[in-house]
Symmetry: C2
Subunit: 584 residues, 2 copies
């Protein structure tokens, strides 16, 4: 038996008890007559006292122990002379009578403290040591608690957890698949699922009515800050439902989790906003509603002033920063201009209008816009003296996205975001398809099984771009925490959809024949949602990156630097798989 | 809104209520004046009544509906004239006033009944229809309930659910890995985990103390009846524990599940048996203890009778079938002899001794064994008249395995197995390593991280085959439901173990360097277990095969015939991965 108690549980009630604890040495303080060790495990820290006078041998032994040694200590619980109010065990200590080193430790490459001195690379390489730190343990504990809360909530709502396969089939739609060569079926490959989409739909066809799964999904994408090649979804599907049923069910779940983990009560229904409005007002399909600064369309009132750039533009729009004239020197505006001109933002320039304290206007377009013109624009925003209006013009979609990025940048710079606020939102009425310049065809905005709105189906063959989908995203504070749709359950509509997406009937049959066949045998109306578990936990953990809430994440090159993976495999393995690696 | 109630919830209390139900048409009975439809969903079956007199149009419409159509019906709940006591909704029916076909169905390729007329192949191809059948839904529902019960039990015991990565690193030890080519790291591969073994050990090094995960594992093996390329483990690990702590913890969990799902109380501790005893008495490391018929070692008393086969044998052993003389004609014994001589069993022959009703012996070795010799053998078994003793001789291990197989075959044939009985058993003290003839080296019996028994460590370098491990399997009714071990937590012992297994220090460092490095920074004593979820559910579901408790299993060639996977991928995909397929 290695311990009678954990390092987190002893209290004054235990004084006088003989106990054995095991754990890691957090700190070793030699005060001459006494040596104190802080012993740490997952449950807490307990102080161990060694007395030079009463037990010189043991005390001498204790002094030699280094950080992160694993030790076992036996002794008696005693009241502490100087109490530590900061930790739950702070009123007691253990007067050690026995000491055993279970495992030595070299000096760790960084300190195991809440604020460590290790850099990103070294922390990733020694992830098992990084994971010893409090913030990491708290994040993973939160993740565990959230998972089990979600499961129990869904279980109570009648959802069944059904495991769908990981070795499935590669499909050309969507992101790039990870593939797995099959040894038993030469030249053939499995693929790892980007989501259990078709399987959960088949479960609805099979009559399971309410399905969920907390499930790993895989995408072989070039990684950005907040992406991982493997990530975890709370994947759900329901039969005999309309969009409203799904939104209500998962709004209920969201409220339950917010209450449980953040003690936030949402007494009102979550706001809903059509995609078109989100784009027009916030330049984003995941607007952050913790602050205002909405976009105004200025196209009509800004044309015809002989300013060629505006006159040629499809769209002119702007946002108004309130009471900031003194914050935006010429230099500060130049910096903002540089921001919008960055390639990933993509603006040609930035027009500004200052509403000075004295009621006059200054602007970068004074040459073309008189005071009255500028006043008219200011009125659109209900602007006051000391406000600045920023304008972007050009293509409709692109200009709005730039304004959306500018809005976020300004909010950050001006400290407009309340970090204790949660602003949930359903974005609805997404377009069904979007044109892809590269492949020169329409792509499904969500996925090819998304149902068009019944009233828009007639446009599917004539004006696909105008067809709205029964699709929805759940957004909190500008982060997309999930999304889903009502699915097509009619094989005729599904066929039309594949046609719109440029699949030949043969390709459609080859890739998704089993789903279309399934629809021939009585498919119920159905729909679902997938919430991103990593993102939910990251948000509740106040983490910038989902890496912080994943035990063993990969780096931005898709590598696990701790285990050194991916790595070469043996020639025998490749031979068995009948594979050759092509040399350049 | 598609329904006000499910097809399983209406009762006499609801009589008079206007309701809307949706579901699948299970049965359509046209009785002339009345048409009755059984409407089915996951929750049950409700009878819908259409009356030709009061609503001829609707009734005519209803008559045309075929099996598995998805329909929506509105009407009033009424008391049934002839009640059906077999189903919970059997006292009521719905008098239909509205009917809508939500989705038509072609005639399904087999009947959606508890006993279907579909063969294995067609059921697999149309799995989504097979899954509509009651036995399948009950199996998956049981699986869901067992999963969530396990999670809540482990959560209460302080275990944390930590997700470990699926894209890991290929290791040559153990079964064959599935590998995943990395596009971002040319020529390199991830591997899918055979188990999260090293990650759960790293979590112990990281101080997580108690970990669990219900997790998919992968093995690229040639498939036998009860194997799948992907399967699910209840994977657990604990720190600061000895073998006894783990056995007690997971015995507690097993008892909890048995009570919850089978209403079985185990008031006694589970039996424990050393591996050597299991082999000697039952010829198996997973003995079925629901019946006796133990093996007796007859080597000593059966030698020296001038029977060359026995005299040359390393081992002679037998089992005694009780009161069966009349069941074993010469022909029946020949059949049994054929059984043991099958290549997968591998005996050279079968010796038998009949203890006839009149107290005399007949045997296939009468030429060498007199009545007294046979009596002596019979005494070993405490045999009575009408018993038959079967003997096998040869190599020690092989003969015992044959006797073990024979014991099971006899029990089946003689109907000795009580299917309502559960006989749990811990098999302990496994050998640490076993000699592999093919590779001409020792292989780890469990895996290379298994701890030798401390008292046996000294033999690790001299007589590895004699070293016993702190390893254990959990066996119920002859099925291995799980297994685990105490792990090595000392990098020196780990190094010795790799040495015993024939790894060069470079190979060990290359494959498992991160684990051995981790052990340098304070590794706690730790150990764990993995219970096979598929097998647990199959046992509780009385299923022969784990396929019955997996939603979308693969067939014995590793194929999913429903989605037609594995399948070829495009040349573009292979090019991106820098792979070529070798043609023979």
């Amino acid at each position: 038996m290695y311990r009678t108690h954990t390092c987190g549980e002893l209290r004054v009630e235990n004084i006088g008890t003989k106990v054995t604890l095991s754990g890691w040495l957090q700190k070793n303080r030699d005060l001459g007559g006494m040596t104190f060790i802080d012993l740490r495990d997952r449950y807490g820290i307990t102080q161990i006292a060694f007395n030079m006078e009463t037990n010189a041998e043991l005390c001498t032994q204790a002094r030699k122990l280094g950080r992160e040694f694993v030790i076992q200590v036996t002794g008696e619980v005693a009241e502490r002379y100087s109490k530590n109010k900061k930790i739950p065990t702070g009123e007691i200590e253990i007067i050690a009578t026995d000491l055993k080193v279970l495992s030595k430790s070299e000096v760790p490459p960084f300190t195991i403290e809440d604020q460590t001195d290790g850099g990103e690379d070294i922390l990733m390489k020694y992830r098992y040591l990084d994971l010893r730190r409090n913030p990491r343990q708290q994040a993973l504990m939160l993740r565990h608690k959230m998972s089990i809360a979600v499961r129990n909530y869904l279980d109570k709502q009648g959802f069944i957890d059904v495991e769908t396969p990981v070795l499935i089939k590669s499909t050309p739609e969507g992101a790039r698949d990870f593939v797995v060569p099959s040894r038993m079926n030469e030249g053939n490959f499995y693929a790892l699922p980007q989501s259990p989409q078709v399987f959960k739909q088949l479960l609805m066809v099979a009559g399971y009515d309410r399905y969920y799964q907390i499930v790993k999904c895989f995408r072989d994408e070039d990684l950005r800050a907040d992406r991982q090649p493997e990530f975890t979804q709370i994947d759900c599907e329901m039969a005999f439902v309309e969009q409203e049923d799904i939104l209500n069910t998962f709004e209920g779940m969201a409220k339950h989790i917010f209450k449980m983990f953040k003690n936030v009560d949402f007494n009102e229904p979550f706001k809903r906003m059509p995609f078109s409005e989100a784009m027009a007002k916030y330049g984003s399909d995941k607007p952050d509603l913790r602050f205002g600064m909405e976009i105004n369309n200025l196209t009509e009132i800004s044309k015809g002033k002989n300013f060629k750039i505006f006159d040629d533009a499809e769209y002119i729009g702007g946002i108004c920063a309130v009471n900031v004239v003194d914050k935006f020197s010429r230099k500060a505006i130049d910096k903002l201009t540089d921001f919008v001109k960055k390639p990933q933002i993509g603006a040609q320039g930035l027009v500004w209008i200052k509403y000075d304290a004295d009621g006059t206007f200054k602007s970068s377009i004074d040459k073309f816009f008189g005071a009255e013109d500028l006043q008219q624009i200011a009125q659109k925003f209900d602007a006051k003296p000391n406000d600045i209006i920023f304008l972007i013009s050009g293509n409709y979609d692109k200009s709005l996205k730039i304004l959306g990025d500018l809005r976020l940048e300004l909010a950050k710079e001006l400290n407009l975001i309340d970090n204790n606020k949660f602003a949930p939102l359903w974005v609805v009425d997404f377009p069904l398809v979007e044109w892809n310049e590269e492949t020169n065809r329409f792509h499904a905005m969500h996925h090819p099984f998304t149902s068009p709105k019944p009233q828009d189906i007639s446009m599917l063959e004539t004006e696909p771009a105008k067809v709205r989908a029964n699709a929805y995203d759940f957004v909190v504070n500008g982060v997309e925490l999930g999304g889903g749709s009502i699915r097509i359950h009619d094989s005729e509509v599904q066929r039309k959809m594949f046609d719109t997406l440029g699949f030949t009937p043969e390709e459609a049959q080859n890739q998704f024949g089993f789903l279309m066949n399934a629809f021939k045998y009585g498919a119920p109306p159905h729909g679902g949602i997938a919430y991103g578990l990593d993102r939910w936990v990251a948000m509740f953990n106040n983490s910038e990156s989902i890496k912080d809430v994943i035990a063993f994440p990969k780096n931005n090159s898709g590598k696990d630097v701790m285990i050194d993976s991916p790595s070469p495999v043996s020639k025998e393995q490749l031979d068995e798989l009948k594979l050759l690696i092509k040399k350049d």
